[in-house]
Symmetry: C2
Subunit: 199 residues, 2 copies
């Protein structure tokens, strides 16, 4: 006999899959679901499905979006000749909080990591090149300052060299080994101001 | 404009409702849902609904159960003349891990707390009295060792006095102010062994 009833065990296993949730936390979460009203539980369940169904990738930059084109790409007051390349949509949220950046973004969807089977063709790099050819002046590469992030940045800079666009990278205001998502706003602002030409 | 897309914000709010989940954790969890496959997300969503739909309270002891009567109440090898009274089903899980206890349980569904509007009639106490009258020899009161838990224990002991049943309480092996759910197995075993008559 398992420790919990099968439907409860199943729910605990689902919570275990969330980032940062261990067995004890998952048990507490599962029990808290059982304590919800039927309506609250179905709201919870529906929110998961609705988020998955309604949120897609922007067809221009891959940012998360409810519409075909995200609010940033469809904003004509922003500088569309300046593209900030990020690993994922979470990094965009961090940049948007700063408000110092008025360009647009391009989400490549990860970093080059042959050990995990992520080769450059798995990332949205050719789409970036196509966008750059439409008259972009500068590309800021803002991958995370990790080994893979750096490799990816170097790779993209090399690919973009032929297009003649200015390629910059964030200044090392961000602590090496850290994660852009958790950088404080001042550090992130310094990193934008101090960006330098790719060499 | 809110920080996140409305369906994402809604999902974050749902995760915030889980115990021990702050805004940052909720954001990470919501993003992790977006990264799931459609199938995995719908499994997650379904697990919430299924747990709510399939798990009910045992009609005898209020323990969580898929069937009308829980596995413990329908187990004829257990001592049905010994009832352990607990606040919630989570406490039963803790006792069951010990395996030293072979009686049955009664979940009262909380503690008396007038400040939160929980009066004795909101708890399953009259059902406990009815069970006791069917020939129970001993009732161990195992509410949590908090002020409300103690008050509830005293109240139940008083109510049961007229039935002539032996009413015992757990020994103070459990640290005062703690929570039975998190007690270690040795402490809980000591508490069962050292139980004493209610005075």
């Amino acid at each position: 006999m398992s420790e919990f009833l099968p439907p409860l065990e199943k729910l605990i296993e689902q919570f275990r899959k969330l980032p940062g949730v261990g067995r004890k936390s998952a048990i507490r979460m599962a029990f808290s679901i059982l304590e919800l009203s039927d309506e609250a539980a179905s709201d919870f369940s529906a929110a998961v499905i609705e988020a998955k169904e309604q949120i897609h990738n922007c067809k221009i930059c891959n940012n998360l979006s409810v519409d075909e084109v995200c609010p940033i790409c469809s904003d004509s007051t922003r500088d569309h000749s300046l593209i900030c390349v990020v690993e994922d949509a979470k990094a965009i949220m961090a940049f948007e909080k700063v408000r110092g950046f008025r360009g647009v973004y391009h989400v490549i969807g990860g970093v080059i990591s042959p050990i995990n089977g992520i080769t450059p063709d798995k990332l949205s790099i050719s789409e970036l090149v196509s966008r750059v050819k439409l008259g972009v002046k500068e590309v800021i590469i803002a991958t995370n300052p990790t080994v893979e992030g750096e490799t990816t940045a170097t790779y993209i800079a090399k690919i973009l060299a032929s297009t003649g666009v200015t390629v910059t990278r964030l200044a090392y205001g961000i602590p090496v080994g850290g994660d852009i998502e958790y950088a404080d706003e001042v550090t992130l602002n310094r990193a934008i101001e101090g960006r330098r030409t790719f060499n």
